[in-house]
Amino acid sequence: MTKAELVETVSKVSDLTRKHSEVIVDAVFSSIIDALQRGDKIELRGFGSFRVRRRGSRTGRNPKTGAGVVVPAKKVPHFKPGKELRELINRR
């Protein structure tokens, strides 16, 4: 599924135009990005949670030259699926 299909779904269930539906879908995802950027965590019941994880610095390698390069520490978004989602993808 792509974002366009998600917009289509919203449009179908709401009588809203595609344009209005897109505003809604965009607002949902940008609100999650904004919250994590503020250092908030997001907990979506039945779906999962998003939070920022710290990743320590490590020594990587330049694949062309083989020279060691220090990759600096950084923060990355992390998603943890909720119980309902975990069960749904594992049902037989």
Partner: protein
Amino acid sequence: MTKADIARIVYERHGGLSNREAARLVEIIFDSIKNRLGDGEKVQITGFGTFVIRQKRERRGRNPQTGEEMLIKPRRSVVFRPSKLFGAAAD
């Protein structure tokens, strides 16, 4: 932040919806993603990231409480790969 907070933001951003309708649509968005993942499909949201299903093999694990060794059955899990934009925003 919870779904209620996201619904409030949607309500403010769109301007022409009731609170209730905003909440209903937010619920539908996450349910659709969940159901597609349940069908084994990947979900790609441009500018946000991609949810993919990963098959995990059977492995030996340990109950952290009792230290007892046990076999963990093969299972599927969801992995989220943030888009460049999202990754840069978080850092």
